[in-house]
């Protein structure tokens, strides 16, 4: 409840969120005054992708992202990780969700409102199966991002700091809010296979629009499984290399 204790800060945060969504909304409006589609995506489909990205990004940033990408390196640097390591709790779970401010959930409302607006304006055949798949793919996107953030955070066991890498990742991640059809050649291959940002918003949006094949959906789950496996193995290796800090 830390943020609620500072009311001006809390309200400014919500206003900031609305302004951010609003600005990108106007940006897309401006783009679509000139073109009918981006790749295969219509105006409202792009907005759906954008709203989906915001939901995933928001859920990540208020849960594990701030904890792993920024708090964990500090704990490693100061040796404060010691106090967490002796607790009979799942260490990774504790470190991923140690700082959660439930008041953040209120600032989730603008993102949800935006999604509701887009869904109302979109002309598509709603189906419960597609809605369920959409939710599952959102969870899948979060698990995929968890894997990446964990890999970046784990690097701190060797480098003590990984802020730079976390910042690079944050900037790369923003690409996921655009239809990745805009990329071609090597970049497209990278964002589909090597750093599959398509998993974050594009694939969940496509399933809701009923334009995603079952094969692509299975691919999404499999690639997340691979990323998670690599991330957790790397995390275990990192723990073995933890050197603590002198007292």
């Amino acid at each position: 409840m830390r943020q609620m204790a500072y009311r001006p800060q809390f309200f400014m945060m919500i206003v900031g969120k609305i302004v951010r969504i609003g600005l990108l909304f106007f940006f897309f409006q401006a783009v679509f005054l000139k073109v009918d589609r981006i790749g295969h995506w219509t105006y409202y489909e792009v907005l759906l992708l954008f709203a989906t990205f915001h939901i995933v990004d928001y859920l990540m940033s208020v849960t594990f992202h701030r904890n792993l990408a920024f708090h964990l390196p500090q704990l490693i640097q100061t040796g404060e990780l010691d106090t967490r390591m002796i607790m009979p709790l799942n260490l990774l779970f504790l470190l991923s969700f140690e700082m959660i401010d439930f008041i953040d959930l209120l600032s989730f409302l603008p993102s949800l409102g935006f999604l509701a607006y887009v869904l109302c304006r979109l002309q598509f055949a709603f189906s419960w199966i597609h809605a369920l798949a959409y939710v599952l793919l959102l969870v899948n996107a979060l698990l995929f991002l968890f894997g990446i953030v964990l890999i970046i955070a784990t690097i701190s066991f060797w480098t003590t700091q990984s802020f730079g890498l976390a910042r690079i990742f944050d900037n790369l991640l923003k690409i996921g809010r655009y239809p990745l059809d805009i990329f071609e050649g090597v970049l497209r291959t990278v964002f589909v296979y090597f750093l599959p940002l398509v998993l974050i918003a594009q694939i969940p949006s496509q399933v809701l629009l009923a334009t995603l094949s079952l094969k692509s959906m299975l691919y999404a789950f499999s690639i997340t499984g691979v990323f998670l496996f690599v991330a957790i193995s790397f995390w275990k290796m990192g723990l073995k290399n933890y050197l603590s800090a002198s007292t």
Partner: protein, 326 residues
């Protein structure tokens, strides 16, 4: 029964060496020299359930590193380690619920909240049954004398008060092994004595195994039955306080005050005379002969008062550090 068993334990650290200044920083950025340091080198320990062991050594000797390996914080580079039958680095829940690690230099409490809130957090984390929790809390709060500060935010407490709160938090789950890393560090005399009394009380009954590191010899003398001295990553002494006095081989000092005439030739045969005047004499004697010399002095001389002093634990340990550094 073994509480702790280690065989030939090693831990090697590494870091990048950096020279001072901007040029040093730039050099380290591209051509940093990786330096390896063996923090502990072949530590073998066998500690029984219920023992209270003082783990001492100069700065950088490897005490805290050993404790961190024993508590599962650090992974040993090589060697065997077993605590309560567990491999600590696997960090099994059952293992972690049976140990506690308290350091005098790190704060584990919630800074803005009262200790009471942290104790409740411990109850949940350690899954302590409510009735057991209430009883342990009452006993420990009384023993640590923190009943009047339970509702005060931690940031408002003195250092000594905070440390006593931390000790209560560390013991609420009734751990079988207690690791204490310089618990009285930076504490004033009164608080340090209170904390020692508290630790001593925990060690009674032979149920808990306590490993304590400290630079404060009063902590060791008051609390520990066994002393392990570590220097440059190796154990250089392991035994009781008496054994330490014996192996150090320091001569005892006998100070004698006379109330009548005495003959120097008769005294010289008993030991080394350090100081003397008409009324008193300071004589150094071998530790084994102290009692017989004192008895002889009483029988054969007009003794008014007599006192015997040893070199003190601090001096003995200092001499061991120095011998080992040669």
């Amino acid at each position: 029964m073994n509480a702790i068993l280690t065989t030939d334990l090693f831990k090697t650290y590494w870091f990048y060496e950096k020279e001072a200044g901007l040029s040093g920083s730039l050099k380290a950025l591209f051509r940093g020299k990786k330096v390896f340091v063996e923090a502990i080198r072949g530590i073998s320990l066998d500690i029984e359930v219920g023992e209270v062991v003082g783990f001492i050594g100069p700065n950088g000797a490897g005490k805290t590193t050993t404790l961190k390996i024993l508590s599962g914080i650090l992974y040993p580079t090589r060697g065997h380690v077993e605590v309560l039958g567990f491999s600590p680095f696997k960090r099994d829940k059952a293992f972690l619920k049976n140990i506690t690690f308290l350091t005098g230099q790190r704060n584990r409490l919630f800074w803005d909240l009262p200790a009471e809130e942290y104790f409740e957090f411990c109850r949940v984390v350690y899954e302590i049954p409510k009735d057991v929790y209430q009883k342990n809390l009452m006993d420990l709060v009384e023993l640590a004398a923190i009943g009047d500060i339970l509702k005060v935010p931690q940031r408002k407490l003195s250092f000594g008060q905070r440390k006593r709160c931390e000790l209560v938090a560390a013991l609420l789950h009734d751990p079988k092994i207690i690791f204490l890393d310089e618990p009285t560090n930076a504490m004033d005399l009164v608080n340090a004595r209170k904390l020692r009394g508290f630790i001593k009380e925990q060690g009674r009954g032979g149920k808990r195994t306590i490993i304590l590191t400290s630079h404060n010899m009063s902590d060791i003398e008051d609390v520990c039955e066994r002393i392990v001295i570590i220097n440059r990553g190796k154990i250089v002494f392991d035994g009781g306080v008496d054994a330490l006095h014996r192996i150090a081989g320091f001569w005892k000092r006998i100070r004698v005050a006379f109330d009548g005439p005495w003959n120097i030739d008769d005294v010289q045969k008993l030991g080394r005379i350090k100081e003397m005047n008409d009324q008193q004499l300071i004589l150094e004697v071998e530790p084994d002969k102290t009692a017989s010399v004192a008895s002889h002095l009483f029988d054969a001389f007009p003794v008014k008062d007599i006192s015997i002093t040893g070199p003190g634990l601090e001096k003995i340990i200092e001499s061991i550090y120095l011998q080992d550094s040669d």
